[in-house]
Symmetry: C2
Subunit: 342 residues, 2 copies
Amino acid sequence: MNNVTIKDIARICKVGVSTVSRAINNDTGISEETRNRILETVKKYHYVPNTSARNLGAAETNTIAVLVYSVTNIFFSSMYGMFQTELEKKGYDYILHSVKDTQDIVAEGIRLVKEKRLKGIIFLGGWIDPTKMRLEDIPVPYVFCTVYQDIELPKSDSASVGIDDIEEGRRIVEYLIERGHTRIAIIGGVEGDRATGAGRLRGYREALEGAGIPVDERLIRHMKKNLEEFTAKNGYAVCKELLETGLEFTALFCVSDLTAVGAYRAIYESGRRIPDDISVVGFDGIELGDYIEPPITTMHQPRDQMVIETVRVLTGMIDGTSRAEQVVLKADLLERASTRRL
Amino acid sequence: MNNVTIKDIARICKVGVSTVSRAINNDTGISEETRNRILETVKKYHYVPNTSARNLGAAETNTIAVLVYSVTNIFFSSMYGMFQTELEKKGYDYILHSVKDTQDIVAEGIRLVKEKRLKGIIFLGGWIDPTKMRLEDIPVPYVFCTVYQDIELPKSDSASVGIDDIEEGRRIVEYLIERGHTRIAIIGGVEGDRATGAGRLRGYREALEGAGIPVDERLIRHMKKNLEEFTAKNGYAVCKELLETGLEFTALFCVSDLTAVGAYRAIYESGRRIPDDISVVGFDGIELGDYIEPPITTMHQPRDQMVIETVRVLTGMIDGTSRAEQVVLKADLLERASTRRL
DNA sequence: TAATAACACGGAAACGTTTCCGTTGCAAGC
DNA sequence: GCTTGCAACGGAAACGTTTCCGTGTTATTA
């Protein structure tokens, strides 16, 4: 009934506990022979080291936490498995933790560090606004993953991995412009936020200005704050409002694919067709975008590469082999069937 | 730099460590006055109890783990937040853990129990086949959530919460039959599996047989084993194959909404229309189903209620206030626009 | 051959809590 | 006035590891 402990193994093998510890941790200072003998006993008696005791006894733990806000958002949840794989590959324990409020994510991180003796933190989510955070209070290395790179921000030495939202936002709007569109609407993030959505919105403005097309502020729409951001539901509600204004536009840029899914619905309900009446582009490149009707043209974020880079940067900082760096990855323009040439 | 420990607080307050422990744990045997004094100091010095030490020192922990296989599947990931809320409400710590292989999920559970001294386990995922598991080896209470209820299984005393897949599968096929369909295809789970998909497939057979419609085995299709189950990608591949056989059918039952999303694409690519040429029904009732074109008629599983029930049953078993029970919830038929009357 | 280094291992402290038990002071009961 | 009981607290063991240090044995070197 009671669990077998390291002492039991030691007693059975007639060795000291430290020897058992050396065996199971692949430490030096032990002969191959006794190691094998101990490992066999471990297996035989189904011994599993207790994590709490391990973390307490060791000078430091091996735990890295991923803190995420939109735990349910498919864009992020599709990365959990990758993080686990990548971190375990490097020998780290992995904790996934979701926070309920974007405001206190740093406080939550600090609490976790103390509580679980974290070795590092990965903040997952583009919604994070580093300017609102007391980053200097975080006592362990951390990396922002998929975070907004805002050139207006005070030069931060925080490590981050993501795409250039402004640049990539501009690219996809330029794609529309090249196809003859001048009346282009946008559904961006929550108003006033300086997160992901804001960067893509800025790219939108830059693209229009670069082409000499006047920006019509009425075509710029924002997510509802009361709803969870970047959901189909939100996209539907906002797009419906936009359509009901009666404003003319031939193209729509949704700053996330899930938003676009909702926008699709609103457009269909209004009796319009995609891309015949309205061309739509999305952003993110979730698998789903290839299956909706019509498949959506979008900027694909290299999620797997992001995970790999995030883990690489963070573990490098933990090892001391590398310093904080800002990794900016390229997005791919996935040209599908949701746009047409005017 | 170094973290403040309970000893520091004790020293500062000029009390013993046990008194501090009593204060932060709301224990008895301490005066209101000293408790407040200690709590203030705790706040002032940002003291946070170390989880490892706590788990080690305490006779038992307060941790419940959710073990999930398809960590990325939107149906399950949409429940993570609810589980966290519900468990925290009852004062439990919550760990989300994904396993990479369905085979060793029990072994993984047992390992976790020892490693983290779990108090209970929630197995999340309909794909679980209890007959393949050595459940008797699990030393703590556990509940299967959204698991397949198979009447053929040996009467198990395992706790579970879910819907009756056979019954609900039958209902939605009957819905199609009532609307005049007799040539009904199905995309089920992986062949040979006794999990979720198998139950719904059986419901499909029962509905046809009940209506005196002969079952055409060629219209029964299964997921590819090499792909992850219940994805749009898988649904697309299987549906495409089905269409290429040239077999006649007027309706298609996809045993998950995500599968249906992929099937939609295959159907569109073949030049057919929904529901004009083929009526499609799904299963699960994910939000997305309301946004695809056309919105899909489906059986909605009450996920929030499932979470609440699962936590209720499990905590009841842990407290000893209730025994293992099998909770069977009703699904709702959501009638939308993907089917037509023949 | 003697001194030294390397290796294999055991003992015990340390990690930061909880919890049991013992002690003190004080009020209540006879 | 003496016991009894209780509330409030302190001390210390215990939880299961890791890690430091010490010791004995064996291999290497001068």
